[in-house]
């Protein structure tokens, strides 16, 4: 599904990613963990196409096609979704209108007609129920005055609507209480199938109790320094990151 090889990236001449290799197959859940400043959020931004970062080397393949030169919206149209750590507020544009626009832009890019209104409504109802979202919520301005939990729930709602091939969840657990965490994780698990993949970026192991990864990678200083199964996350939670550092030395 997603294959990243030898990815180097920098921002303002500062090297942040120093040769990332990662392969995620359809149907898999991968987690990337690591200390603050390791480059976790940079990696997710770069996969999604944030133009603030300079990719100096390497490639990002989505189903065999190099997407590293594409604009963020083109990657989105091909099935890349990034759940933001800090979703942006857009006053005056309702959750419903925003997602309608997003869906129809994607369909337009893929040569499809706009989604008929009744079909759209049905889909919105179905997916908002999955995330246990109140009907009133849908007519509110996007993210404006939303609590941390509401923002993240709204991100996963959009993911559910857009049905991406690869969903990257960037620190989705930050700012969530336990109920919201359960709802969000439950949503992700229900959306997960044999034809898509999920990449969870997190600092803590907590989310991985709910979204169970097939593989866990440790990102430190711009490189993946260790990979393993879900038990690696538990080990990291117990021992912190220092033991890996010493292991590396």
């Amino acid at each position: 599904m997603l294959k990243i090889s030898n990815l180097h990236a920098s921002v303002e001449d500062k090297d942040i990613l120093k040769g990332i290799n990662l392969e995620i197959k359809a149907g898999e859940v991968h987690a990337i963990m690591g200390p603050n400043g390791a480059g976790k959020s940079t990696l997710s931004s770069i996969i999604a196409g944030n133009e603030n970062y300079e990719v100096s080397e390497g490639e990002i393949l989505l189903e065999g096609e190099d997407i590293s030169e594409l604009a963020p919206e083109e990657r989105a149209h091909k099935g890349v979704f990034l759940s933001f750590q800090y979703p942006v507020e857009i006053p005056g544009v309702s959750v419903t209108n925003f997602i309608k626009t997003a869906i129809n832009e994607k369909r337009k890019a893929n040569g499809q007609e706009e989604m008929p209104a009744n079909e759209m409504l049905k889909l919105i109802r179905e997916k908002s129920e999955l995330l246990e979202m109140d009907r009133k919520f849908l007519s509110r301005s996007l993210n404006e005055g939303f609590s941390g939990g509401e923002k993240k729930r709204n991100e996963i709602f959009q993911m559910a609507m857009l049905e991406p091939k690869i969903a990257i969840l960037d620190e989705t657990d930050s700012g969530l209480d336990i109920d919201a965490l359960r709802i969000v994780a439950n949503g992700v698990n229900k959306l997960k199938n044999e034809n898509n993949a999920v990449l969870v970026i997190t600092h803590y192991q907590r989310l991985l109790d709910y979204i169970i990864p097939d593989f866990v990678h440790v990102l430190m200083d711009g490189k993946i320094v260790k990979s393993g199964g879900k038990e690696l996350a538990i080990e990291l939670e117990e021992k912190g990151y220092d033991w890996i550092k010493s292991e590396l030395v």
Binding site: S45, A48, G49, N50, E51, N52, A71, P72, E73, R75, A76, H77, V80, F81, L82, F84, Y86, P87, V88, I90, P91, G92, V93, N97, F98, K100, T101, A102, I103, N104, E105, K106, A109, E114, S141, Q158, L162
Partner: protein, 438 residues
């Protein structure tokens, strides 16, 4: 002969052609003297530091068009709020068009300034209100006063809630090579009365136009006035809008100014308080490009205790356009418990665009709440990335962000059809079809 000389020398001829009573003659005479002394404002004056009229004044303007010009309704229908029923006071090249208008004397007066100024039955009202809040010092206002003859006259009696909005539209046909017009509006809103007014100036071809307009609004006790100015004119049109508002106790007056086009647009908006618990609202959206220039010059004079004022101006400048915001709040010693708020946010999307923003608070009372905030920035890149990540292309994402930026002001438009119209104009300005009705 320059424009000033032309105007001053034509004053006598102008006075002769219309029959006016002597009080009005005196008002006009002292007004033209003031203008003759001061002339057109220049950049040397603090109030005009950022706006120059020099280039505009070089045009050889016709100041008294000779011909009555007609327009077919179908040609100009789009400038009307035709989705709903309205009163209409319409002018073509400075002259009243009875054909396009829908005036009334039934329970309220929506008619012509020329009638009010010249007919004996209005004399008492004219004596009481005409030129009473407009400046007797500011040169362009006095220039207008000297030639004041035509415009809209609106008088809403006590307790009358006017069901239909009133549209005041000034069309310029461009039949003259260059035209100067000086509309004069008078709006009197009685105790507990409520009215909504929409004002627009519109050129129909590219010949230069200079409009020097003065509007006086009197809001009596507990009156509610919602006034909307739509400025979406051609590149050849110049507008100097001088609006003076006098408010009595517990009245609520709001003025929304939508500046989307024109060559030079200057809005002088002045609020004066005479009574307690008054509420004044000044809001504006400016979206311009090319070499357009929009200057908002506001004054709220808090002279009495327990009053509020709310200002919120949003500006988006593209290309080489220039914006000016000068917001003055004056709180007199007696005006305790004043609550004055001023917000001015600007986004520059053109590399050569310029904004001059100047909040000016002069406070002489000690128990007041005055706050102001002014920001100048570019479009938020992280917000752009967020929307693009959801598949919304750059251009549409920009438009959506700019729409969101102006939303606070749009939300306070009280006529739904006008709100729709304004959002459509904005979508048009931003060059996108957003795929849903904003």
């Amino acid at each position: 002969m320059d424009l000033k000389e032309k105007l001053v020398s034509s004053f006598m001829a102008f006075e002769e052609q219309i029959d006016v009573h002597s009080e009005l003659h005196d008002v006009r005479t002292s007004a033209i003297k003031n203008f003759e002394n001061k002339g057109f404002p220049t950049k040397k004056e603090e109030a005009w530091k950022y706006t120059s009229l020099n280039a505009v004044l070089k045009n050889d303007f016709t100041v008294f068009p000779k011909h009555e010009n007609a327009i077919e309704f179908a040609e100009v229908k789009k400038y009307f709020l035709h989705e709903i029923d309205t009163y209409k006071v319409i002018f073509i090249d400075g002259k009243y068009s009875s054909f396009l208008s829908a005036t009334t004397h039934d329970g309220l007066d929506v008619c012509l300034m020329s009638s009010a100024l010249n007919k004996p039955k209005y004399k008492m009202i004219i004596d009481e209100y005409f030129n009473k809040v407009a400046s007797k010092e500011e040169s362009l206002t006095t220039l207008n006063t000297a030639f004041a003859n035509e415009g809209a006259y609106i008088n809403i009696p006590k307790s009358k809630v006017v069901e239909k909005p009133i549209e005041i539209i000034y069309f310029s046909t461009g039949k003259e090579n260059a035209l100067m017009v000086q509309p004069r509006n008078l709006v009197i809103v009685g105790e507990n009365a409520h009215v909504q007014i929409i004002e627009r100036h519109q050129s129909l071809n590219e010949n230069p136009v200079l409009t020097n307009s003065v509007t006086e609004i009197f809001a009596q006790k507990r009156a509610i006035v919602d006034y909307y100015k739509i400025q979406n004119d051609l590149q050849s049109a110049n507008l100097i809008d001088n609006t003076y508002i006098s408010q009595k106790q517990e009245s609520r007056v709001s003025v929304h100014t939508f500046s989307f086009g024109g060559n030079i647009t200057r809005n002088n908006l002045n609020f004066y308080h005479f009574g307690e618990r008054i509420d004044s609202t000044l809001k504006g959206i400016t979206i311009i490009g090319d070499k357009q220039h929009v200057d908002h010059y506001t004054l709220v004079n808090h002279a009495t205790p327990n009053c509020e004022s709310h200002q919120n101006y949003k500006t988006i400048l593209a290309d080489s356009s220039t914006g000016v915001f000068n917001g003055k709040i004056f709180v007199e010693k007696e005006a305790q418990k004043t609550d004055a708020f001023q917000q001015n946010n600007n986004i520059l999307i053109g590399d050569k665009a310029t904004i001059n923003a100047k909040p000016q608070l002069e406070i002489f009372a000690d128990d007041v709440k005055c706050s102001h905030g002014c920001t100048i920035g570019q479009l938020d890149e992280s917000a752009m990335f967020y929307m693009q990540q959801r598949g919304i292309p750059k251009k549409e994402a920009k438009a959506l962000l700019m729409y969101a930026f102006t939303n606070e002001v749009i939300e306070s438009i009280k006529i739904p059809e006008l709100k729709q119209r304004i959002t459509k104009i904005i979508a048009n300005k931003l060059g996108v079809n957003l795929g849903f009705d904003l």
